[in-house]
């Protein structure tokens, strides 16, 4: 066709004019309408009192009211504990199927299973753990009947910090496996051979070569895990019915609750969450840039 012969696809080097930007307008429009405007609206709403007037109260309460500070503390603690615990277990599992010498089929089985488990969250996950570690749970009974150990008498409670952490771990460590397996593949065989030729032991190789190379990606992955737990709502709500005071549940209670009701405060807490998540993501992308130096 003559028309297309005159107008071939431009190459990148040709300077783009404003019309080229029209191609991404729908995407930006969508992002503005359904992502940026709602977030921005929450920001302005957090300066609104229950009577609808302008106020700084919500922001001041954010850092001074004990129950809010405690909610953030609890959320941060749960996220940190499960990021660390899930990170360590996930790393060890990823290690076992990559450089750890386990048979190849186990690797693809683990990756598939991790894909499933990291997506298996919310209500079904909470119910699964009630059936496992609840008062009448499967493990609870086994421990009681065969080992004479009553975990509930020993102070364990599924609907508490420890219980919720165990539940979160279920989607945390598979995510770590998914991120770390490719990173561990990036360890070059030559590095290990070079270390061994210079007389390094396995421990020395791991401490002086492998871990320093992997450290940015390990930390980056753990930050993702942190954010993953920090923003979680449905799992905790389904498990405890809102009785555990993490930030997401407090936000839900402030905005939609029957007892607690101060939407402005809820919005302010939401903004606080966004700030913490943004800091985590910035840390993640910084570490990501460092990782790319060694592991491609």
């Amino acid at each position: 066709m003559a028309q297309t012969a005159v107008k071939p696809v431009k190459l990148v080097s040709v300077p783009t004019n404003w019309k080229t930007w029209l191609g991404v307008v729908p995407f930006f429009l969508f992002a503005v309408l359904f992502l940026f405007l709602p977030s921005l609206r929450l920001f302005t709403a957090s300066f609104t009192s229950p009577e609808g007037t302008f106020t700084f109260d919500n922001i001041i309460q954010l850092v001074s009211a004990p129950f809010i500070v405690n909610a953030y503390k609890l959320s941060i603690q749960i996220s940190a504990v499960t990021a660390l615990g899930g990170g360590i277990l996930g790393f060890l599992m990823a290690y076992s199927v990559t450089v750890g010498g386990l048979p190849k089929p186990l690797r693809s089985a683990l990756i598939t299973f991790s894909g499933v488990a990291s997506n298996f969250a919310g209500v079904p996950l909470a119910f699964a753990f009630v059936a496992t570690l609840g008062r009448q749970g499967f493990i609870t009974h086994i421990l009681r009947d065969y080992f004479g150990l009553s975990i509930y008498d020993a102070g364990f409670n599924l609907y508490s910090f420890a219980g919720l952490s165990l539940v979160y771990m279920y989607f945390q460590f598979p995510l770590m496996v998914l991120i770390m397996a490719p990173a561990l593949d990036g360890l070059k065989r030559e590095w290990r051979e070079a270390a061994e030729n210079l007389g390094a032991s396995t421990t020395q190789y791991w401490l002086k070569v492998a871990l320093p190379v992997l450290l940015p990606s390990i930390l980056g992955a753990m930050i993702l895990l942190f954010g993953n737990a920090f923003g979680a709502y449905a799992t905790a709500y389904a498990l405890t019915g809102g009785r555990i005071g993490i930030v997401t549940i407090q936000i839900g209670a402030q905005i939609r609750g029957d007892v607690l009701y101060n939407p402005g405060l809820g919005y302010a807490m939401a903004i606080g969450m966004v700030v913490i998540m943004a800091i985590s993501l910035a840390g993640y992308s910084w570490l990501q840039a460092k990782t790319e130096r060694w592991l491609k």
Partner: protein
């Protein structure tokens, strides 16, 4: 080789870590399954029969599936042309678009849903007048559906965009585009008949991941007040014991099916999504 030296070659600690993790995976699922069978020893699958006999289950489950399909279709319509255009013509926009697709990590579902409600529960009027040209989206059913699908598109955006972009990296879209253009194809034909078929495995894994996020989703669905599967399962759990266990196991099998299909079509790395 003696027995001892062969034993030393077995990666002992690797097996230990693997088994610990495997138990963590399997025990809750096994416990759920086992519990769901204990309702009536005479009819082992009673909980499943009862669950699937409930009309509310089919209503909410089908509705959630329709939402998932709508989310997948609109996400593809939005993201494929964008990613294509950026690769072909507008590499300057790559950083900003990638940044936007990461935003849903910063704005969790619970925050997104209140933002959406806040914006779209007021009527759209012309400023300084009383002329309303659109009722609040939260006031009518179609409006709520638009809101929830848009919300799900936002939640799925990081995964969809990454899948599509990765898919486009492996095919030479510039050559394909030039070939199609020289044969007289317009942009619509290029994208729908040339680009889409070439990235179909990437699209499929993005779609299945979206499906896994949407079908059991609770936060958006319950605060927007729609009768989706997630809120249904949650309410069922409030006053029943065995059916929720059966349906939890069922939704695990569904997730597994979706992920297994992703493995099959991509043959490579799995992905993780987050609607926790």
């Amino acid at each position: 080789m003696s027995f001892l030296s062969r034993l030393r070659r077995v990666p002992f600690w690797s097996w230990i870590w693997f088994l610990v993790g495997a138990l963590y995976f399997i025990l809750p699922l096994f416990a759920t399954f086992e519990f769901s069978l204990t309702w009536d020893p005479a009819i082992p699958f009673k909980a499943y029969q009862r669950s699937f006999a409930d009309n509310k289950f089919w209503e909410t489950f089908i509705y959630s599936n329709v939402l998932a399909v709508a989310t997948i279709i609109f996400s593809i319509v939005l993201i494929v042309p964008t990613a294509y255009w950026i690769r072909l013509r507008l590499p300057q926009a790559r950083r900003i678009v990638e940044f936007i697709t990461l935003m849903p990590f910063v704005v969790p579902a619970i925050i997104l849903v209140f933002g959406l409600i806040r914006i779209y529960s007021t009527p759209f009027s012309i400023p300084f007048t009383d002329i309303v040209f659109m009722q609040p989206l939260t006031n009518f059913k179609a409006g709520t559906n638009i809101l929830i699908v848009s919300g799900y598109m936002v939640l799925a955006m990081p995964y969809m965009y990454r899948s599509v972009d990765t898919g486009m990296r492996t095919v030479d879209i510039r050559t394909l585009t030039e070939a199609a253009q020289s044969l007289g194809a317009n942009w619509f034909v290029i994208i729908s008949r040339v680009i889409l078929p070439n990235i179909r495995s990437a699209l499929l894994s993005g779609a299945l991941l979206t499906f896994a996020i949407v079908v059991g989703e609770v936060t958006l669905a319950s605060f927007l007040g729609v009768n989706a599967f997630g809120p249904y399962l949650f309410l069922l759990g409030q006053h029943r014991a065995y059916e929720p266990a059966a349906l939890s196991f069922f939704s695990f099998l569904l997730t597994w099916l979706a992920m297994g299909l992703i493995q099959l079509v991509s043959g490579g790395q799995g992905q993780a999504a987050g609607a926790h």
